[in-house]
Symmetry: C2
Amino acid sequence: MKLATLKNSRPDGQLVVVSTDLTRFASAGRIAPNLQAALDDWQTISPQLSALAAQLDAGDIAGQVFDPSMALAPLPRAYQWIDGSGYLSHLERVRSLKGSKDEQLQSTRPLLYQGGSDSLSAPTDPIVATDPELAIDFEAEVAVIISAVPMSATREQAAAAIRLVTVCNDVSLRRLVLDDLQNGFGFFHSKPSTAFAPIVVTPDSLDGAWRDNRLHLPVRIEVNGTLFGQPNAGTDMHFDFADLIVEAARTRNLAAGTIIGGGTVSNRHDESLPIKRDGIGFACIAEARTVEKIKYGRARTPFLKPGDAVRIGAVADGRSVFGDIAQIVALA
Amino acid sequence: MKLATLKNSRPDGQLVVVSTDLTRFASAGRIAPNLQAALDDWQTISPQLSALAAQLDAGDIAGQVFDPSMALAPLPRAYQWIDGSGYLSHLERVRSLKGSKDEQLQSTRPLLYQGGSDSLSAPTDPIVATDPELAIDFEAEVAVIISAVPMSATREQAAAAIRLVTVCNDVSLRRLVLDDLQNGFGFFHSKPSTAFAPIVVTPDSLDGAWRDNRLHLPVRIEVNGTLFGQPNAGTDMHFDFADLIVEAARTRNLAAGTIIGGGTVSNRHDESLPIKRDGIGFACIAEARTVEKIKYGRARTPFLKPGDAVRIGAVADGRSVFGDIAQIVALA
């Protein structure tokens, strides 16, 4: 089942089911007013959404043309957005870049940060920064949306709570990261609004690409139309989504509709940019710059500047599985 | 105007207006389904709520008996909970305790952390911890709920966005703070569910106690029935709520319904516990322990243990302005 949230006059938008080929949609407004309401009562609501999706795919309902530019984030405002660190090579590359005080890698327990979830960006919203000199970067990630998870949940409970999968862009202002980390209170100013792909998909509708609590698909990133990276999200993911959820629930319950990010997708390699046709590349600029510093003594790839375009999408058989995030950098 | 959210079958509870003397309530269900919905359209909704409150106070509506034990947190789940650090003496006392790597005080710009907002505790919910050895502490704070604030907001915009005031208990697991800070990703496991008083009050209904973007009232804390502190929230608040909101909006928009905490209320003094009749005391255990370490060479006041009771409320003319938070520590 594939779902999206379209713009309407309400802050939580209009829940719709999307056809398997992403070309058409049907409103789910008579089943649930929005995606959060569906997640609040998933056992009851999801079979109804699934039945509607089957009717749409069978042509029993004509539906309307699905235009990704009409999509909001699946949860335009969420009660929780927790970003994890599933990929150790991202931490290795970025921590050395930002000179973290604690260089020891956390390979036994994943790092998590509490992100702002009140204003999540639509897939085509601009990346708005107040200053072009903030070292504006993207981070292409896989994210899951879960049902409620109790404190001290087991891996089995965590895995069973995964309802929907998508990709997101955890926009980062690298120049503010060090300040945020040094004051000890964690990321805040350095992590403005995260953007989400237009479509969320249930794990069972991912045609086998969802296995071992990981998405086994390349996430393709283009900057200004040029391929920047296509790391496979199922490769080198040291902590899977069950691990991340278990860690998030160590001292607290997690409410339905909590979004968990897997961290910047990152595969181990030492290639630098420009990426070769079958190269892997990077899912954020900071990693590319670290590899360049090691290889060439200095970073070559610039951070984003106003007007730059970033496109992010997970790809299967040449098609964008969740639709693309396509953002342009703008000044506030 | 005084509002509360009472338990019903829905996750967001039932919005009610409460009489000025906190003895009676009337359902506001015909005006707005819940407090978030009221905040989403405050210009339209608040005059209607205010009119209902006037009818209740005038006796035109009988209302029902207000029982604080039926209250949820005003926003049982919120889109954002940001905790600030308005009181420097709290930072001074607690930072030396926890051995923060960066001891330099942030007197020019307030620290903020992004808290979990998906599961906020009712005023009488237990404080649930997985382990009694986690150094369970309370933090008595003033909090405001705001309407939407744009990125790079001015102090005037920030002050004008303050809709509702209350007190909260930012429960802290001190033994996990150092881990959270050292990994650099900020508070996470050390900050489980924050609890809120049953009543939220508009600034204009605080009888002059709301001035200069601060609440000028003592916040009274009892542990197991013994007075622990009564610092005045309007005293020694270096950063006021407008400062905190401006800082929170530096790189991002803030959605309606964002909750901003002022940080643990803390007045400058060097008295230790037990508190004298007119003493000031502390709004968290960690501060008391720091003063004891300096005075006596060791901390005397224990952290909370299962079964301990904490009571927190702001007091005016001997009455609890927002109703009390009254929690008992329990093991998961």
